[in-house]
Symmetry: D2
Subunit: 284 residues, 4 copies
């Protein structure tokens, strides 16, 4: 199972023969499928699939797989992505002052829970510089004010470009990225500290406390221009009681945030998430 | 433990000696405390307690307990309720067309999961008449239109009065009670088919589906004039996936609704719920 | 999506081209696949799949599908099952004295949460006769003692045969079926009132209380000769506290038992469960 | 709420007037109770309580509280503990090779999720020396073999004594402490990587995989001479599926282990746990 694999994420209008077409493409070139999952969304008339196969004995050279599959995909009006398990995605983590999600990701990275390189951490505050350096990762402090946001985001994007980043993870980055940023670099995963769509925006734990809820949650989602409205990848919750004040909610929420963000990042990096419209298919 | 008990739910401004005062009142009259739980809400400066004791060998006759405790409570500016475990509360269940919450409550009632009488079921539709009669409960069909709402609610209130009702349970009663109704009879528990405050109002499962959430919930709360904003008693959730369409959400939600409403009703009937502001203390 | 569908559950030694072979079989006969999920168990070297397709426009007549697929399956050494969505399985429910799981299944059946016929209920006690008759289902009281077990099981098997039963559901049937019974009719789903393998055997709630656990569970599994050791289909849990005595555990456990058994029965009836060795693949 | 508090954990045979007696003791000395919770275990006839009060304006000097309460407790045949919120307990963490639970505790400690000193970490392997030193904590490598166990445990106990330890936390310490060790230093919390009593002993994740369970768990408990049989403080679970192999179970289990152990340690350090027989009351 440690062999190199290729995986395809495909979505297209549903019609007969799609599974056969894709499976034949792989089989006829000598590939052994190790994961194939398919979902039909009848409401939108979409066929969505994930298929993964071993590359040993696969007859097509890597650089010809995409062009070859393209000729199959085009007549199907399919959107698709091709990934290789030995290509290591590069992550930039954006943080502010809170360390728990950052630390958690770095530990999991070191424990090989997901495969990626994390060459750079960017923060609008200097607080987490020390932690970053313990892990031998470059740290860039880029303060943000209302007045400087546009130019500072330009610097952030230059770093994202310079470090050749594939994915930006907002690990409790308490700033809202501008539409421009998101338009220029749309591969962003955020952790929101509430069970969305409850408590959108700032201070969700305070709002949860005031509303007197009995359960709190956390949500990891892709970032879109619309605040906290991007496609949801993962959510989880924990029970609370009247004994929990806001400080307790924040403490309990941290555990949720760590786990929910880590799961979402791992699912994304394993190419298990297919976005369509405002929804995700998570091929677990 | 099957002995008759009395229980006090008390809230008052916090100060020294409150636990001692209440415990002494019970001990000095010969009562054996079997449950005593206390919560201090430091933010609001409130002391909130539930205390339950066995009535055998209690020296005060029942009808003197309230006046006696009143003289303790008044100088403390306390709000309080006194309940006896052998007084059987009377419930009216309001329903529309859906049977699952109603049936669930009736079954639990028969299985003695909570102690109450359920003399009457009121519905704006005739559909559940048969079920009701199987359980030997009076059924009143009171159709509601925009035009007739005020007069029909008057009929409902007359029935609530006639049947000597202590608690109204809205078991998927798909109507909004007017402020007038709530003002005249404020002891009402509702089940809302979402994880409040997410998806307030109509069609929460459709909204949840459209938002692409990965978890759905249900919330049981006291009814106030403000829709879905009353104090929350109980919430629970269940995981869903992209494979679940709206029909699946509704099906999975039903199990949540049944259980969450039943837990809330049971907690209320066992006098475990103390409301203050928009919050509840649930003495479990 | 309401069209009739066929579904195949297949397990065989893993090799290249399996997805393609099965998908081609369906496509070449004009079928539209609406669900295809595949799992490779690398440890056992097994390929396991579920595939479902619409029968409209499928060129093969129904009675030829099995023989046609057989010629594909044989060289693959595959075990397989073929199901049609419009064939209505027939269930016999075995009960003792407790009604909650039985009632829950009957309600869900009436609410069309699963499609089946329930022509007969068999019990070693007469207690639930009335409920059964309310639902217009035949009730057979077959008392069991140690001495009479063998001959009484023969009567049970005759009924299972006479009513043309496809699935026996043990809905809190507090008897252990003999190996003979299981050998003669192996399609049996049980609900065990613990989180297996904790608290195997009798009185799991008492044992859970004595052990002082903080969570209790329920397990639905296929029945094998070895008590409580069959393949697990579904499990769930609920938190408890020191305040819960055995009676509370039993009450809370009932809700688990109802839901866990109902989910398992539904998954089985929707042909979502593939057993291999002591394990199940649940294609959700 | 940041004022210093004292708390009493008391268990004694149930009788009338216990709440009043204890509350009066505090009130008559000028203390303000901020937490009072009581549980009656009717089966064992035990009264169990936790009571916490602010020490400002408390008339008794600290060193007289214990003797004063002793004179109340003795006639009640009560077992009791007295704790002050500003006394900082000292923890020794025992580890083997795995770092996740250790790191998690150290991070929570730094984030002030619990108040304690952690002066020493003891391991039978040298692997986690570096981590320990990053946090400026003494590290002692004490290898254990069957032959050396007795003498090496003596060294461990000397360290526990030398560092003036109040609590030993076994954070994935993959050795069984001898009865002698436990007898000499009984304040020990362990994390077991299963939902006890399922999968007692070694390799629970492998056993869980082989049994084909659909949920895995973790259990934190006090250590007694009998392996994995001590009083349970906290348990939690996570759902798994057929897609999860043993490696996945171990990965998912790590998150459980971290959280369950951290919760148990925090509850213990906040003096929220009262052990009686093989059970715990957790005053949350």
């Amino acid at each position: 199972m440690e062999n190199t694999t290729a995986s395809l994420l495909v979505s297209c209008p549903d019609k007969k023969g799609l599974v056969a077409k894709i499976a034949n493409f792989i089989y006829s070139n000598g590939g052994n499928i190790i994961h194939a999952d398919q979902h039909t969304d009848f409401e939108s008339g979409l066929f969505l699939t994930r298929i993964e196969w071993q590359l040993d004995d696969f007859n097509l050279p890597r650089d010809l797989i995409a062009p070859a599959f393209s000729s199959i995909a085009q007549p199907l009006q399919a959107k698709w992505e091709l990934h290789f398990s030995d290509s290591i995605p590069r992550i930039a983590i954006f943080v502010s002052k809170q360390e728990h999600c950052l630390l958690d990701l770095l530990w999991r990275h070191r424990a090989k829970e997901f495969v990626a390189e994390i060459p750079v951490i960017i923060s609008n505050h200097p607080n987490l510089k020390d932690i970053t350096e313990q892990f031998d990762i470059d740290f860039h402090h880029i303060p943000i004010t209302k007045a400087t946001k546009i130019e500072q985001e330009k610097k952030q994007l230059e770093l994202v470009d310079k470090y050749n980043i594939d994915l930006v993870v907002l690990a409790k980055y308490m700033q809202i990225l501008s539409n421009d940023f998101v338009a220029q670099f749309p591969q962003i995963i955020n952790i929101h500290h509430s069970f969305l769509p409850a408590f959108i925006g700032a201070n969700p734990y305070h709002k949860a406390y005031e509303r007197g809820v009995k359960i709190i949650g956390a949500t990891s989602h892709y970032v879109t221009a619309d605040l906290d409205a991007g496609s949801i990848i993962e959510q989880d919750v924990v029970k609370i009681s009247h004994r929990d004040n806001v400080v307790d909610l924040i403490r309990k929420g941290k555990d949720l945030e760590r786990i929910v963000l880590a799961r979402a990042v791992r699912l994304h990096l394993n190419n298990r998430v297919l976005v369509y419209g405002n929804r995700t298919v998570v091929f677990e």
